[in-house]
């Protein structure tokens, strides 16, 4: 009986071949690995340059300043894995934030407000998901509609910021749990929990694998009997839910709801997800990669403020990094997908 083996015809084990086999086996991890390398380089470089960059205080602040971005990135990862995109997340975050602040200011109990914020985010996400899946609207357009809807609703709630004095919400940001010089707030913990849950769901649940399948080949996934429609709609719902959660975190962080929050944030979120190694074409990427992407983003922001340089450098650098990553991703993907 002859067996089909995967060895190449010349059986000489060379370093190049071993490396090639390794990269083929672990192809989907490579872009994320590249992101980790960049993060390490940035941290090391900053530490060398400034001497006091990597301190418990700074690193703790890094997490907390970007907690809302982490949550948004998790939701966006789900959507991009299905080869879609969600442009509404910034507006949803602003809308749920101002909605919550407004409700709290009117005396609605916190226990009602927080779920409402989450559900309203999820509702917009659901709407986008339904448009994409059942009305065949392109994700770009459907989520753009969501962006306008969210922003408009935010302005309807209030044109100016509303302070939050609710103790429960302020507790979320105000409380610091210390461990030596490291500290974390409930919002930080919340963000980390979202990241962990997101990663576990994607890797270990059937729904998660369906998301990857849809991104890999929607037609094949459907023929394989997977519930493609449900998965796609749920991906957008999750993104909207994360938008609501980010709204809560940001409102707690700044102590107020502000309808002009998050303008352009969706683009930052997309950038960190791509930098983290998720392909825009779908089917490849990891939530943990997006987390790395958020840290890369946060570290660059911190470095820029350390240098006292203008914040506009932020966009230039992120743009350049994004371009670099997309090129690297293309190179890896084209090398590792053979058609035999």
């Amino acid at each position: 009986m002859t067996t089909m083996t995967e060895t190449t015809s010349a059986d000489k084990p060379s370093v190049a071949q071993g490396l090639s086999a390794f990269t083929t086996r672990h192809a989907s991890w490579l872009p994320t690995f590249a992101a980790v390398v960049i993060l390490v380089v940035l941290l090391a470089g900053a530490q060398i340059r400034f001497g006091n960059f990597i301190t418990p205080g700074n690193m703790s602040a890094l997490l907390l300043d970007n907690a809302f971005l982490m949550v948004l990135a998790v939701g966006m990862t789900f959507v991009i894995l299905t080869a879609g995109i969600d442009l509404s997340v910034g507006s949803v975050m602003a809308f749920t934030g101002i909605l919550g602040a407004s409700m709290l200011a009117s005396g609605v109990p916190t226990i009602v407000v927080i779920p409402t914020m989450l559900l309203s985010g999820a509702a917009i996400g659901l709407l986008i998901g339904v448009l994409v899946q059942y009305f065949n609207v392109q994700p770009f357009i459907a989520s753009l509609a969501g962006l306008f809807l969210g922003r408009g609703l935010a302005y309807v709630v209030s044109l100016s910021s509303i302070r939050v004095e609710d103790p429960a919400v302020l507790w979320l940001q105000g409380t610091r749990l210390r461990m030596g010089d490291w500290y974390i707030t409930p919002t930080g913990i919340l963000a980390l929990v979202v990241v962990i849950v997101g990663a576990l769901v994607l890797q270990f649940t059937r729904f998660g694998r369906t998301i990857y399948a849809v991104g890999g080949s929607e037609s094949s996934a459907r023929l394989m009997g997977l519930n493609v429609s449900r998965a796609k709609v749920l991906a957008y719902l999750i993104s909207g839910l994360c938008g609501g959660l980010a709204g809560l975190i940001l409102t707690a962080f700044s102590g107020a709801g502000y309808p002009r929050n998050g303008i352009g944030t969706e683009l930052d979120v997309i950038a960190v997800v791509v930098i983290g190694g998720t392909l825009l074409t779908g089917g490849r990427g990891y939530v943990l990669g997006s987390l790395i992407g958020v840290f890369v983003f946060g570290v660059i922001k911190a470095i820029i403020s350390f240098m006292g340089a203008e914040q506009s450098w932020m966009q230039i650098i992120v743009g350049a990094l994004l371009l670099l990553f997309i090129v690297v991703q293309r190179a890896i993907v084209s090398r590792t997908s053979r058609t035999g």
Binding site: T205, R206, G216, S337
Partner: protein
């Protein structure tokens, strides 16, 4: 080859279609068709493209609903609203295009949708173990944890089959399963099919390879123009009769032509290549192609056939070696350059690397010619239509098809459109990579005849095909490839299928 008759009829059929009718657009794809399959039998569905085979398969597998008639599985009437329903009822399908997910691992692809779970989450190690068991059952040495996309197409197809049989399958539909498999792999597949027969699985085997059909099938159903022609036993039906029933007329004769004198081939060669080497999989190849010659290329999958073709037509870069056309050295840097020198390529992957499915047949035909002329010398629409119509006549395409999106045509007609496009460029060398793959018998012979005619008219043709019989029939000489090298180039008259096999067989796989 087994043939069952009497005892089989007393057993109830496992699959029964009664008076099945499906209308697709304006055509009656299935017209009052009766069809049945018994447990433990391999049933072949035969018919030309457009006969209704894929419609029947789609009806059985839940992809499209029946407009009239009933489908019964094990005696129970079934109404499938999705492929998922059919799968749950025990009907698994392996398609011609590999409908798997290249971005997931082999194990995940095999178990997708049915992953083993522990406390609600997927049990990775158990999933890989289960996948390994299925692969071992098929005698496949594939790492379950590897990415599917990193494997060759032939391997991916075997994984697709592994997936299909990894559930409690009652009916297995194999749609052209062997088109990407070499002889060893086909043997393996047949071994598995026979094993499944023992287990009582009914197998629907759809293939254009008559030899394989006769080797493995117990019963043959022939469709033509959407209607049932009949159900036959392979023992009762000669091949020529089968083809006649499929075509409704006598099979077209292959028009053989006078073989070229190969003695002076080297001096007269129109295109000659020396020491051609490319990282894509061809090493030190020497090729001489005379005007009006058909050079066949034979070899196993992965032996370098396509790599050779792509290097001769400017698609892949030469790492070493030289190419001459009419004695003058040329650098084929790109397909465009090759085109300008009269060397054109027809890819084996019609849909991905050739035709633009959404564009009309007319557009597809005139495309390359227009591209060659450039943006400022537009071919007038009337002239385009004239051109396309004349090619349609030459290649037996219907004029009414000219405005249809080419993606809706049958495989055979799609290949003809490809040919028309290339021929419209008045090439000197035509490199055809698997031009008759996935095409029914009648169209195959038509294309083979076309190749002969073109060669007689002075065109040089490189004819690559996995079907050795076809290669021998069409070619004047055959270049035999093994492990990325040309082992020998021999006049086809002196060759038989067996002698070619001996030359292409890998030394290591000489045990059966």
């Amino acid at each position: 080859m087994e043939g069952h008759n009497g005892p089989m009829d007393e057993v109830r059929p496992l699959v029964e279609l009664n008076r099945a009718t499906v209308q697709l657009g304006t055509t009656l794809a299935l017209d009052d068709v009766d069809f049945r399959m018994f447990p433990g039998e391999v049933h072949s569905l035969m018919g030309e493209n457009g006969a209704g085979k894929s419609t029947l398969i789609k009806a059985i597998t839940g992809v499209i609903p029946l407009q009239a008639g009933t489908l019964k599985l094990g005696g129970e009437t079934m109404r499938f609203s999705s492929p998922h329903d059919a799968q749950r009822a025990g009907i698994s399908t392996v398609y011609q295009e590999i409908n798997l997910l290249p971005n997931l691992t082999v194990a995940e692809n095999i178990r997708l949708g049915r992953e083993p779970r522990r406390w609600g989450v997927i049990d990775g190690p158990r999933m890989r173990a289960e996948a390994k068991a299925v692969l071992d059952d098929l005698g496949l040495d594939i790492d379950p944890a590897s990415l599917l996309g990193s494997h060759a197409v032939a391997v991916q197809q075997l994984v697709a089959i592994a997936r299909a049989i990894s559930v409690d399958v009652r009916v297995l539909v194999l749609d052209e399963p062997t088109s990407s498999l070499d002889l060893d792999e086909v043997g393996e597949l047949f071994r598995v099919i026979r094993e499944l027969k023992e287990r009582g699985v009914a197998i629907l085997f759809v293939s254009h390879f008559l030899d394989q059909v006769y080797e493995i099938c117990d019963r043959i159903t022939v469709l033509r123009d959407g209607a049932l022609v009949g159900e036959y036993l392979p023992t009762d039906l000669l091949r020529i009769e089968l083809v006649q029933k499929m075509l409704g007329r006598a099979a077209p004769e292959y028009a053989s032509r006078d073989a070229l004198e190969s003695a002076d081939a080297v001096e007269d060669s129109y295109l000659s290549a020396r020491g051609v080497t490319s990282a894509t999989g061809i090493i030190e190849a020497n090729v001489d192609l005379a005007e009006g010659e058909v050079l066949g290329v034979a070899g196993l999958l992965g032996s370098g056939r396509t790599a050779l073709a792509r290097v001769l037509t400017g698609i892949d870069r030469l790492d070493a070696g030289s190419i001459r056309i009419e004695g003058k050295p040329v650098r084929l840097d790109s397909p465009r350059k090759a085109l300008s020198l009269g060397v054109v390529y027809s890819s084996e992957n019609r849909r991905a690397e050739g035709l633009l499915g959404d564009l009309s047949v007319l557009d597809n035909i005139t495309l390359a010619l227009q591209a060659q002329r450039g943006a400022f010398r537009r071919i007038k629409p009337e002239r385009q239509r004239e051109l396309a119509a004349s090619w349609a006549d030459a290649l037996a395409l219907k004029h009414t098809d000219l405005d249809r999106p080419v993606g809706t045509l049958s495989g055979g007609n799609q290949q003809k459109v490809m040919l028309a496009r290339l021929l419209a460029l008045s090439p000197r060398v035509l490199v055809l990579d698997e031009p008759t793959r996935g095409i029914d018998v009648g169209a195959k012979v038509e294309i083979q005849n076309m190749v002969s005619e073109l060669a007689t008219n002075g065109l040089s043709v490189v004819f690559i095909s996995a079907e050795l019989e076809e290669v021998l029939r069409v070619s004047d000489r055959v270049a035999i490839l093994r492990d990325a090298r040309i082992v020998d180039t021999v006049t086809s008259g002196t060759l038989t299928v067996e002698s070619v096999l001996a030359l292409v067989a890998h030394p290591a796989s000489s045990e059966a």
